[in-house]
Each structure stands twice: as structure tokens, then as C-alpha cells.
């Protein structure tokens, strides 16, 4: 087999509390050994990577991506989306189920995860929590779990009905995976296309109130309490793309209470506020929307103080013609896989002093733990050889036209980034090299 030696790098492996110069030997898709610098002197490998000046970290993991296959491959395919992931330093992504058709059966899940789809990195999926994501009847949680599901979600919309959400949390608890909730009370957001507030008023756009997010989080947490009491189960609620201080505060309290709640924050929610909508820029339109500066600041704090468990991109590609129309008509979402690390390092590390090891943790070990991915998110000996090498000090600006994604819908075209991915290695194979 083709061994890979990574020499002279700074290994950051938060799960093992390592932040030091180490050399790594990758063999048969696993980390064969980790040594002090120079420890592999005399060892021959098919490939030797000189990582001088680079951070060597567990490959990044994104628990929230939209790859659009099947059904909307004009926006993205599993192959192109995962190529973008590799370029962004990700070695594992979790595909959302709102494809066409919705990923809600074992057959569809198996089709999606089949090697024939050409995934460049390790692909997992969260199938729909309800049939067709219609919110009425649960999917086959046990069968889907056995086929590889790492969670359940109706992402794009919430599981709105109390009884259905309760049943989903119970079934997911038995299957030992989270229910990943898109927290939006859609009864409050009909016809809305940005954050509610003075800016939406001025632009004449109907605004999504922060309550729409907080209410569903509150309801779901109440369900966790009830289920723990009544069923003796410990369900895991994962709150997707938290965007409001209100929701973060509710999550923080629930964690203190000991409930099993985790949450993710998307880079755009800590890097941008609603002002980015500007003159109706549809590249600043997503759901949940960009919020006020106070909310943005709170997202940064939540990442600094540990309330937020991980960073997830909500990579949501759309074709140019779909975004180049009236703001209210344009679909929600932006691409994010190639800008996540650069934004995290620029905003959280440089501007707010979050240590590199915490950023690596938020983007590898923590998402691995949320989705119970054994052997991933850490680089201890014997673990999966998923590695990212990046130059943490490199300043660059993102060029959307150079993206590996099929789509270009990003508000970060031309934006300053910090930290550049040099190589991405997935299961011992080099899947990206700058």
C-alpha cells in the first residue's frame, strides 16, 4: 500500500490534547504511528509530505451540506460538492435529505452513499425524519440507521408538529443518533425573506422574527425533558444553524440542565450580519437569515464560550439563474465548503483570539462526536487517516470562479480569508493538493 509520511508539521489533535510538532505515518487508510519530530528517520514511504510551517489536523467534518443529488445536479452533484469539500479541508460531509426525491428510504440512502456517486471524501447522510419531509409520518429509523444514517432531519423545514417531533426524538434515541432540527416556526415566517427589523422594514421585505427560531428550540427542549421523564430515554437534539441570541441562550440553559442538546453555527452567521443584504443581494439570502449585529456577536461568543458545539456550513448551492432574480423569489442558501476554514480563522482566531486547537475541534472532533463517527475527528494511532494540512497564517481572498462547486452563490467572493488548505487526505488518499 502507498504509505504517506507527513513530516515537520504542527499536529493539532484536540481529542488527544496534542498541539506540538509531530510526524505522522499513514498506512492502509489509518494513522499507523505518530512520532516526535525525526522519529521516522529511515522509514520509506511512497509519498513524503514536508509540512514545515503547516498545521496538521484531523480532516474537517461538516454535518450539514446540501449536495443536490439526486434530482438537482444542475446545482451540484455528490462528486462536485465533495470536491469542493476536499478543497476546503473537509474529509467527511453529512448530506441533508432535501434532494429530489427526498432521501427517506433505505434504497435511496444506499443509492446516495454508493461509491458509484463518485464522492471525493467520506460521505454520510441524515435521511428525512418524516416521509417526504412532509411532517406527517416517521421514516424507518431503525432500517435507515442500519444502512448508515447518522441522524435524522427534515432540514429545509422543521418537524413542526409536537407529536411527530416527540416520536422522532424517541425513535432517534433508540437508534442512538440525533434528530437534527431546522428550528423555524414556519407559522411566523410565511412570505419572509430576511431578518425582521429596521433593515427589513426599510427594504420593504417581510422579516423573519427571532422568535421563529427560539420557539421551536424551546418546544424541542421541553420535549427532551418530557421524554427523559416519561420514557427513561436520553434523546439527542441537534439544533442546526443557530442564528439568534435568543435560541443560543435557550440552548445554553438546556445544557446546564443536563439535557442532550448540541448545536451548530454556520460561518455566515458569525461573519456577516443583515447589512450584507445591501441592495437586495441574493447571495446574502439564506434561511435562517443573516441577523442583527447583536445576534452575530452572540454567535461569536457562543463559539468562544463553548455553547456552540461545532461549525457547519449549510453548503447550499444554487444555479446563477436562480439567484439572479427578485430577492423575494430567489432560493435560500449559499455555498460554504471552501470558505469555512478561512472565515473561522479570520474571524474567530485572529479577530477574537480563539485558539487554533479550538477551531480544529469545532470543525473535526466535535462534529464527529455529534454524529458518533468512530475513528474520525482525531489523529491518534489507529484512527482513520483523514488529515488536513493548512497554512494557518496565509492570507488570501476567495475567488468564487475558482470554486470546485458547480455553483457560485456566495457572499464571500473576493472576501479576505485567513489560513489556506495545502493538502487534504481522506482515508489515506490525497484528495486535494493546492
Amino acid at each position: 500500500m502507498s504509505d504517506i509520511l507527513i513530516l515537520n508539521g504542527r499536529l493539532i489533535d484536540p481529542a488527544n490534547h496534542v498541539d506540538a510538532n509531530r510526524d505522522l505515518l499513514l498506512r492502509d487508510g489509518r494513522v499507523a504511528a505518530v512520532e516526535q519530530p525525526g522519529g521516522f528517520r529511515g522509514v520509506e514511504a511512497a509519498e513524503t509530505i514536508d509540512a514545515t510551517g503547516l498545521v496538521v489536523a484531523p480532516g474537517l467534518i461538516d454535518v450539514h451540506v446540501h449536495l443536490r443529488e439526486p434530482g438537482q445536479t444542475y446545482k451540484e452533484s455528490i462528486a462536485t460538492g465533495t470536491a469542493a469539500a476536499a478543497a476546503g479541508g473537509f474529509t467527511t460531509v453529512v448530506a441533508m435529505p432535501n434532494t429530489v426525491p427526498v432521501n427517506d428510504t433505505v434504497a435511496k440512502l444506499e443509492w446516495m452513499l454508493d461509491a458509484a456517486r463518485g464522492s471525493v471524501v467520506k460521505l454520510f447522510a441524515m435521511p428525512a425524519a418524516t416521509v417526504g419531509s412532509m411532517g406527517d409520518a416517521l421514516t424507518d429509523f431503525d432500517g435507515l440507521r442500519a444502512a448508515g444514517a447518522v441522524g435524522f432531519t427534515d432540514d429545509g423545514k422543521p418537524v413542526l408538529e409536537d407529536d411527530i417531533m416527540r416520536a422522532a426524538l424517541i425513535a432517534a434515541a433508540r437508534a442512538e443518533v440525533p434528530v437534527s432540527q431546522h428550528a423555524e416556526d414556519t407559522r411566523l415566517t410565511g412570505g419572509c425573506s430576511m431578518n425582521a427589523g429596521p433593515m427589513a422594514f426599510r427594504l420593504g421585505l417581510r422579516g423573519m422574527p427571532v422568535e421563529a427560531e427560539a420557539r421551536i428550540v424551546e418546544r424541542d427542549i421541553q420535549l427532551l425533558r418530557e421524554i427523559e421523564r416519561a420514557e427513561g430515554l436520553r434523546p439527542h437534539l441537534h439544533v442546526q444553524h443557530v442564528s439568534t441570541a435568543r435560541a443560543i441562550n435557550v440552548i445554553r440553559k438546556a445544557k446546564k440542565e443536563g439535557l442532550h442538546v448540541t448545536c451548530e453555527i454556520a460561518p455566515h452567521h458569525f461573519a456577516l450580519n443583515e447589512a450584507a443584504v445591501g441592495d437586495y443581494d441574493t447571495h446574502a439570502k439564506m434561511n435562517p437569515p443573516l441577523r442583527s449585529e447583536a445576534d452575530r456577536t452572540r454567535m461569536v461568543e457562543a463559539l468562544l464560550d463553548g455553547t456552540a458545539d461545532c461549525i457547519a456550513t449549510d453548503h447550499a448551492p444554487h444555479a446563477a439563474f436562480e439567484k439572479r432574480q427578485e430577492f423575494e423569489r430567489a432560493p435560500n442558501g449559499i455555498t460554504g465548503l471552501e470558505t469555512a476554514l478561512g472565515l473561522a480563522l479570520r474571524v474567530l482566531h485572529r479577530e477574537h483570539g480563539l485558539p487554533l486547537s479550538r477551531i480544529v475541534e469545532l470543525m473535526s472532533a466535535s462534529p464527529a462526536a455529534i454524529t458518533s463517527l468512530a475513528g474520525r475527528g482525531t489523529l491518534g494511532s489507529g484512527q482513520v487517516a483523514d488529515v488536513v494540512l493548512f497554512d494557518a497564517g496565509a492570507e488570501w481572498s476567495f475567488d468564487a470562479n475558482s470554486s470546485r462547486s458547480k455553483s457560485r452563490n456566495t457572499p464571500f467572493d473576493g472576501a479576505a480569508m485567513l489560513g489556506r488548505v495545502r493538502s487534504t487526505i481522506c482515508e489515506g488518499r490525497i484528495v486535494y493538493r493546492a
Binding site: G190, M199, G204, L205, R206, N273, G278, D279, Q325
Partner: protein, 332 residues
């Protein structure tokens, strides 16, 4: 971090002569437009009709309109321009053609300027970006109606200070003038444009209406804007009472007790006499008589409603000339 940038001097990605938002106009530009309107109004018809001879403007209307459409059309024609009207009901828009493609088609057919009315807020920005043509916003969703605010300004200046004072403005022209805008503020593009324009000329703008139709967020329109929910109190302070229609088509499930609304917010003769006996009464139209305004007021001596329509023709002529570069002194 990104910040809101509304300065009129900021580099604009939109073709010169576009008018998408009153926020894009400097006070000097507002003044120049008023000056041009005054100049064009008194030109001999023969001279006026030479100004845009050979030029082509398209009116693209996705919503119905009487005043705005007709006055833009008549303004363009009086300056000698050729106009073509495209409406969503009788074009390929019905077949699903996008705004971008519709704009590019009009451009390919020779349109040098597009006047757009559209139900989606911000649609004129899309059209201006995609076509590169000057675009005049003739009302976009709940966002803005800039030409209405300019004609309202000209009406106010003429009635308060005389016709001679309506051809230029500065930052203090409306010092001491209070304008009460009353009604369905939430859904009103006229309210937004006026509330963003008039305070920059020194005016105080009182927004008035029930809480459901007037959220606190309206204060974000800018300094000089205040919220007063009590109509009588607002009337008692104003020199200009601008009334707005309840936009039933945009209520989107909002419940409103119309009887109560009439009781609290209708401008009728009794109320006007009691609280604002000398105020100027304005309405951008369409009026719903018996709802927000009573007959006696609409047709009474304090009403400037018909004059507003006439000023619309003059202001829109100036905007057409500005968009197509047919006016002197406006292009720098």
C-alpha cells in the same frame, strides 16, 4: 464587518440617470430634478418635444397603475421619446419569462431606459444590474416609489411657499414643516420614500397608524421620523396631512377591523376642522373614499390631490430627461 452604506456619493453599480431609491439622491440632485421639472414645464411644446426625439423608453409594469404609468408615458411623449408598454398580463411574463430576460429583450429592441413597476421589493435593482440601463423605479413592492416622493415634495413646496420656490431645495428648505403620513405605513412604498426624503430637507415626518400597520422598525427609516399612533395628535402638529390607502392586496392574513380603523384614522371634515384647519391634504392615490378619506376632504379646498397628479407629470418629465441624458446641467 459590512455596514449599511447609503451615501449618495458611494460608487454606484447602476447606470447614470437611474432612480431606484431616494436614498441614492443627494440633496443637490433633488434640487436639480426640481429645477429641471420647472424648466421643462414652461418650455414651448415644440421645443420640449425635441429634447428626447429619437430616444426610446420602455414601461414595464407588473402591477396595475393609472397615475404613474400614464404620467410617465405622457412625460416621455411630451419630450419626443418613443415609448412602449409591456405589462405582465399581455406578454411572455405570463409564460414565465424572468425579469432579467424581459429586460434584456427590451434592451435588444432598443429600449434605452426602463420604467419598472413590480410587486417585489428590490426588483428595479435586479433589472438595473442585469441590463445596465438606467432604470426608473415606478414602485417596487413595499419598498419605494421615488418619483411619488419627488412629486409630493414639489406639491408641498408649491402650496406652502409658492411656485417660484419649488424649483430648488436645500437641507433647510423644510425646516419647521411637519408632515403627517397616516395609514397603512407597513405596506406603503410611498411612505418609505417620503420618510426617507423629506427629513433630509429639514422636515419632520410623523408616521401615523395602528400598531399593526406601523411597527417600531419604521423608525429605522432615518432621523427626523417619529411614530404617533394617535391621529388627532398627529394632525394637530402637521402642516401637511398625507393619507394612505389600506393595501388589502398586501395584508397577507393581517386582521383589521375596518369600522374601528375608519373611526380612528379617517380624515373627514370634522376632524380636519378640529385639528388641522389649515393643513394641506395629500393622497398619492388610489383613494378609497369613505375609508381613509371622506369626500368633503378629498374634494375640499385644502386638498392638493389633483395637483399632485399634475406635479407628477412635471417631475417625471425631469426624470425621463435625466435618465436619457436629454437635460442640461444634470449630468456631471
Amino acid at each position: 464587518m459590512q455596514s449599511v452604506s447609503e451615501s449618495a456619493t458611494a460608487q454606484s453599480p447602476y447606470a447614470q440617470g437611474s432612480l431606484l431609491s431616494v436614498a441614492h439622491l443627494s440633496v443637490e440632485e433633488v434640487s436639480a430634478i426640481l429645477g429641471e421639472a420647472a424648466r421643462l414645464e414652461v418650455l414651448a411644446p415644440a421645443e420640449r418635444s425635441g429634447i428626447l426625439r429619437g430616444r426610446t423608453a420602455a414601461l414595464l409594469f407588473y402591477e396595475s397603475s393609472t397615475r404613474t404609468r400614464t404620467s410617465f408615458e405622457l412625460a416621455a411623449k411630451s419630450l419626443g421619446a418613443t415609448t412602449t408598454l409591456v405589462s405582465d398580463k399581455s406578454s411572455s411574463i405570463e409564460k414565465g419569462e424572468s425579469l432579467k430576460d424581459t429586460g434584456l429583450t427590451l434592451r435588444a429592441l432598443g429600449a434605452e431606459c426602463i420604467i419598472l413597476r413590480h410587486p417585489a421589493s428590490g426588483a428595479p435593482f435586479v433589472l438595473a444590474r442585469e441590463t445596465g440601463l438606467p432604470v426608473l423605479n415606478a414602485g417596487d413592492g413595499m419598498h419605494e416609489h421615488p418619483s411619488q416622493a419627488l412629486l409630493d415634495l414639489r406639491t408641498i413646496l408649491t402650496r406652502l411657499f409658492g411656485a417660484d420656490s419649488a424649483s430648488s431645495v436645500g437641507e433647510h428648505t423644510l425646516d419647521g414643516v411637519t408632515i403627517a403620513i397616516t395609514g397603512d405605513i407597513l405596506h406603503s412604498r410611498v411612505a418609505r420614500s417620503n420618510a426617507m426624503l423629506l427629513p433630509r430637507l429639514g422636515a419632520r415626518v410623523l408616521l401615523c397608524g395602528p400598531t399593526k400597520l406601523l411597527p417600531e422598525d419604521a423608525l429605522g427609516l432615518g432621523p427626523g421620523v417619529e411614530i404617533v399612533h394617535d391621529f388627532d395628535r398627529a394632525l394637530a402638529q402637521c402642516q401637511v396631512a398625507m393619507m394612505l390607502r389600506i393595501q388589502k392586496e398586501r395584508l397577507a392574513g393581517l386582521e383589521l377591523d375596518l369600522g374601528d380603523y375608519i373611526h380612528r384614522y379617517q380624515l373627514n371634515g370634522e376632524r380636519l376642522a378640529a385639528f388641522a384647519p389649515s393643513a394641506l391634504v395629500m393622497h398619492p392615490g388610489p383613494m378609497i373614499r369613505g375609508m381613509e378619506i371622506a369626500d368633503d376632504v378629498a374634494d375640499g379646498p385644502q386638498s392638493a390631490i389633483e395637483e399632485q397628479v399634475r406635479h407628477g407629470l412635471a417631475v417625471r418629465s425631469a426624470l425621463m430627461a435625466r435618465a436619457l441624458g436629454g437635460s442640461k446641467g444634470l449630468r456631471i
